[in-house]
């Protein structure tokens, strides 16, 4: 049989740049003795090959089936070409003329090979904190523009030494075209500074051991670090950061150390060791010798991460195995990324500064996730290691910009069947966060080479995002109700088509009826929704004050449940409520004038937290709910009463019958942990019953769960179980947070469906 020869062009899209894809192609081509070239273009990887058809077939199949670990192939095609008669296989220089559809890789934790080099005394990069290769290292945080080339990164100011250059040019080397490639001779270096900004010559580990607070420049920003075993030092950090209760995350030397402090399941361990190296929220071991009152007050979980840059490995030794690593910023302001700014702004907090001279271009906070009982990840924050990786969606043809919510903001840009969510920008009512948000949009647009003409935003008129959207010239706007966006974000993740039921529970979202929503069951597809059930409204005098002061929510619920008796009850159960504030609130409640109404589930947790005496002031968002979950006793199986009835065509989920039962138990000195658990189970019961009723009415059997309340594991695991037992098909978030960090995805998919086919 005669060999048939062919000439082809292969185009590959996805995360194929900066992940060692071209050397992989080169090696594969050499293996089959194919000729031609590979090119990193801004339209993805382009390959020309010539050779026997049979070899080319195998070559192409292995290309897409066995890509390098960090690569993610989204699409590819192959086309026959005219014979060119190539004589060798080349890696050609980047081309930046084609339409930019390439994707940037997220930052990746230092790989095993680099780690062994950095710890090897014989290696020329021994203890060099900027070691990296095509399989690991900084990406997104240092990239200014596409195509991904050193000149387009903050490594541009470090010309490679001859030895690094040789590695860089050698297709068989692990550092072939590793753009941030560097060594002690040519690359960035670290310096340890005192508060005056003067360089000092000391081992940073000795500083930790002496109880000092050190600001450490990492991949996407600074951390404030302190020895977690040094209670006095941790307390000093907590005090000076004015972060009175919010839990600190820790970094541990290795996974063995993590096991010492926490209970870790195999999937949790996989996430700890994953190349994205997120903070994983883990159950603490009892008696783990950490001072939980100052590290994670009121909680039995701890956010743990492993070292993810080579610099982090240099922070630990035999006697230093666990550090507090908390994002360095002041009171909800952006993450600090600049050396001078760090010294200026953290000078009151940090004693020393471990900095380096490689600039961070895109700030990016650590990702935080928890592993559910289904072994799926549940994101609290999706950032470093994941951004800017796209999420596959089934979208229309036009690019959409969705600007997200107000707090924990992320935005989302869609292009060709992928949704690109930004890192978290924090509370956009802070000017500097708002500036970062705007800058981020510009950078994402440039990176993705799109100029969206449709902007989706929340219904809330006073969100900065809504204001910003309305100021953009020449675009079409689409307003999306908050909880509808939450719902659509889960649907988008699972690519659900048709109608579903969605149980959406969170703190606050502006409703279509001028009330504050937060405990809703909607029937929806991507183009619209109807509200079938809600938590029964309670009056909401005081608005945002109530989110900060759970005791106020307790008073509101006590009044709703007991009317005039509330005066006595408040004295018994809410001693922290001052008489004047109580009287003013009750006057507002009784007159019911100019008072908003709310179905917020988050605020219901606040009320329960305060009545149980667990949390009467929220020092961080969702504190009462987090502490209630921590208290809950898993051995308690009971629940309280609730009512379910229709009112003006909407099912009312009414928890008022719960309060007398709960109060009676508190008086009988029931353990708060058992009451907390019964509170959770009441909600699970009530929601399950309501959804069963709604299924009877609508015939819809698929339920999606979203909203920040579903960060709560008792609720999401419990509800998943009980709904599944009832025969429902249940969908939870796995790729974006259930909280407001995820709603931009929902807004985007809704806008894209609404405008599908238009133009």
């Amino acid at each position: 049989m005669q060999t048939k020869y062919g000439s082809y062009q292969i185009r590959i899209n996805g995360i194929v740049q900066g992940v060692g894809f071209r050397p992989f192609v080169y090696r594969l081509a050499s293996e089959y003795d194919l000729k031609g070239w590979v090119l990193n273009s801004s339209a993805g990887v382009l390959i020309r090959v010539e050779g026997p058809d049979e070899q080319i077939n195998t070559f192409a199949r292995r290309l897409v089936e066995e890509p390098p670990p960090l690569a993610l192939i989204r699409s590819w095609d192959i086309n026959a070409q005219d014979w060119s008669g190539f004589t060798d296989f080349k890696i050609k220089a980047s081309d930046d003329h084609e339409q930019k559809v390439a994707m940037i890789s997220p930052d990746i934790a230092v790989c095993a090979e680099c780690r062994s080099e950095v710890l090897n005394r014989e290696d020329r990069r021994y203890h060099y904190p900027f070691i990296n290769c095509t399989n690991c290292g900084p990406r997104f945080t240092i990239i200014k523009d596409l195509p991904y080339d050193r000149s387009m990164t903050t490594m541009a100011s470090f010309p490679m030494c001859p030895e690094c250059q040789r590695e860089y040019e050698n297709p068989n080397h692990r550092r072939f075209h590793a753009q941030p490639n560097a060594c002690p001779v040519c690359g960035p270096h670290i310096s340890l500074l005192n508060r005056q900004g003067q360089e000092i010559n000391q081992d940073v580990r000795e500083l930790f051991k002496a109880g000092y607070i050190v600001a450490v420049k990492g991949l996407g920003g600074f951390h404030l670090a302190v020895n977690a075993r040094d209670a006095k030092a941790v307390a000093r950090l907590r005090k000076s950061k004015q972060r009175d209760a919010k839990p600190f995350a820790v970094m541990v030397k290795d996974v063995e150390t993590a096991h010492k402090y926490c209970l870790i399941s195999p999937p949790e361990e996989r996430w700890l060791l994953a190349p994205q190296a997120p903070i994983v929220v883990l159950k603490c071991r009892e008696g783990n010798q950490l001072n939980s009152d100052i590290i994670h007050p009121g909680l039995n979980t701890l956010g743990v991460m492993l070292p993810y840059t080579p610099l982090h490995y240099l922070l630990f030794d035999q006697d230093l195995e666990i550090l507090i690593m908390t994002s360095a910023n002041i009171s909800d302001e952006p993450l600090i990324i600049d050396n001078q700014e760090a010294i200026g702004k953290l000078g009151q907090i940090a004693d020393y500064f471990l900095v380096h001279n490689r600039d961070i271009y895109n700030p990016c906070d650590d990702s935080v996730l928890r592993v559910t009982s289904l072994d799926t990840p549940l994101f609290f924050r999706r950032a470093r290691g994941f951004v800017p990786r796209g999420i596959k969606i089934d979208d229309g043809t036009k690019p959409i910009l969705a600007v997200g919510g107000e707090m924990k903001n992320t935005f989302c840009l869609t292009r060709n069947g992928e949704a690109f969510l930004s890192q978290h920008w924090g509370d956009l009512n802070h000017f500097n966060n708002y500036m970062n948000f705007q800058r981020g949009i510009e950078r994402f647009k440039r990176m993705l080479y799109v100029e969206p003409e449709i902007i989706a935003h929340d219904l809330h008129p006073n969100y900065q995002t809504s204001r910003w959207a309305k100021m953009q010239p020449g675009v079409k706007l689409i307003e999306v109700q908050h909880h509808f966006a939450h719902l659509a974000s889960v649907m988008a993740e699972h690519n659900l088509q048709g109608e579903v039921l969605g149980l959406i529970c969170d703190g606050t979202g502006w409703g279509t009826d001028g009330a504050v929503w937060g405990g809703e069951i909607l029937r929806a597809d991507y183009t619209g929704f109807t509200r079938l059930a809600q938590h029964k409204y309670v009056p909401f005098p005081g608005g945002d004050q109530n989110a900060k002061k759970p005791y106020r929510m307790a008073l509101i619920y006590l009044y709703a449940a007991f009317g005039e008796e509330v005066f006595d009850l408040a004295e018994q159960f809410l001693p922290q409520l001052a008489t004047e504030e109580k009287n003013i609130m009750l006057t507002c409640l009784m007159n019911n004038a100019h008072v908003l109404r709310t179905s917020s589930c988050g605020r219901l947790f606040d009320a329960a937290g305060a009545i149980l005496g667990i949390c009467s002031i929220n020092q961080y968002e969702g504190q009462a709910a987090a502490e209630l979950e921590a208290w809950a006793d898993p051995f308690e199986k009971g629940h309280y009463g609730f009512d379910l009835y229709a009112e003006q065509g909407i099912w009312q989920m009414d928890v008022l019958p719960m309060w007398p039962e709960m109060l009676a138990e508190i008086k009988r000195n029931y353990l708060p942990g058992r009451i907390a658990q019964k509170f959770h189970l009441t909600l699970v019961k009530m929601w399950t019953k309501t959804l069963c009723k709604l299924r009877d009415e609508t015939g819809l059997n698929r339920v999606v769960l979203s909203g920040g309340v579903f960060c709560n594991q008792i609720l999401s695991n419990g509800l998943y179980k009980s709904l599944t037992e009832e025969g429902f098909k249940v969908y939870l978030h796995q790729q974006v947070p259930p909280g407001d960090g995820g709603i931009s995805l929902g807004q985007a998919i809704i806008a894209s469906e609404v405008y599908r086919g238009c133009v």
């Binding site: 000017f431 703190g507 005081g542 608005g543 945002d544 004050q545 989110a547 004047e580 003013i584 507002c588």
Partner: protein
């Protein structure tokens, strides 16, 4: 007068109307220009540009701690004229009275107008009264229109504001809004709050003395300080940064706002002025304000910068910068 309540006939134009005008309005507002009772007022005006402002006053309750609708109707228009840099001279007034309003109430409202006008040295020179059926109004609605003369060389436009200028507010903010709210909702605070309702005639001297150093003035009524600052930031195309700790708010108002979940920066004022002053004059200006009874709590609250144009930022005590936006509608909760 025979009746103790306003009847529809009081608005008929007949004898009863005549008697109402004579016995209540003319007596109280009595002056040589109104006296001849012509179809209109005939005014001699000094040289300068003419400033004119109008405002209608609709408020429940009519009487509130610190003032009443009558006093308010004079303060509102007088303060608006002062904000233009004008010397308030003459006012017109029109009443829409709901049938059944106690005549004694009307009498005190009118007396309070007359007294306030006298303090300022402004004359009520022409007016009108209508009576409407019960339910068509809420007690009484009052319109006042005022004119004043702006001395040569004064041109207080937002465009005069430059980067570096200072922002001064003439006293504690939020008092009026809170006093009205408390009265309306029957809220009693341990420290009662009075409306700040006052005609800021003392500012006339400041305008004379600091003619040029004053860039622009604005009366922070509805929407409060926050709204006024935003308007100016947009009109002048500048950024305004204020320091939270420097904004004067009385302990009582702050405490009450905390309990109600409201923000004093968005609450109405009826006797305050926001003044943009050249940096070099700011200190003297503030010292002079402190010497006068109406402005003794004045404070320098912020500064003007080129960026962020059209925005107002609040520097918090923790060193963060919040955006102080314009609210669409009421304060809607946003914390999730």
């Amino acid at each position: 007068m025979k009746h103790d309540r306003i009847l529809l006939a009081h608005g008929s134009g007949g004898l009863m109307s005549q008697r109402l005008i004579d016995e209540i309005f003319k007596k109280a507002f009595n002056n040589d220009i109104m006296e001849p009772m012509l179809d209109g007022a005939i005014l001699d005006l000094p040289a300068g540009k003419l400033a004119m402002s109008t405002d209608s006053f609709v408020i429940t309750p009519l009487f509130f701690p610190g003032g009443d609708i009558g006093k308010l109707s004079i303060c509102g228009t007088v303060n608006d004229l002062l904000a233009c840099g004008a010397q308030p001279l003459y006012l017109s007034t029109a009443f829409i009275i709901e049938e059944g309003l106690p005549i004694s109430d009307l009498r005190s409202i009118v007396a309070s107008m007359a007294e306030t006008a006298r303090q300022v040295g402004v004359k009520l020179v022409t007016g009108d009264t209508k009576v409407v059926e019960k339910g068509s109004a809420d007690g009484v609605f009052i319109n006042t229109t005022g004119i004043g003369i702006i001395p040569a060389g004064i041109d207080y436009l937002p465009q005069r504001i430059n980067s570096g200028d200072k922002v001064i507010v003439t006293g504690n903010i939020g008092d009026h809004g809170l006093a009205i709210l408390a009265q309306r909702e029957g809220l009693s605070f341990s420290t009662p709050v009075l409306s700040d309702c006052a005609p800021l005639y003392q500012l006339k001297d400041m305008i004379d003395k600091y003619q040029d150093a004053i860039r622009c003035m604005r009366d922070p009524t509805r929407g409060g300080l926050a709204t006024v600052l935003n308007e100016i930031a947009v009109q002048a195309g500048v950024g305004i940064r204020v320091k939270e700790a420097d904004i004067p708010v009385s302990v009582a108002v702050q405490g009450a706002c905390d309990m109600l979940g409201m923000d004093p920066l968005y609450m109405a004022n009826e006797g305050k002025m926001v003044i943009f002053v050249a940096a070099e004059a700011a200190e003297d200006f503030l010292n002079d304000l402190h010497k006068m009874s109406q402005t003794e709590n004045a404070a320098l609250i912020g500064r003007v910068s080129p960026e962020p144009a059209g925005m107002v930022l609040v520097e918090t005590e923790l060193g963060a910068e919040r955006i102080l936006g314009v609210l669409e509608g009421e304060h809607i909760p946003r914390i999730c």
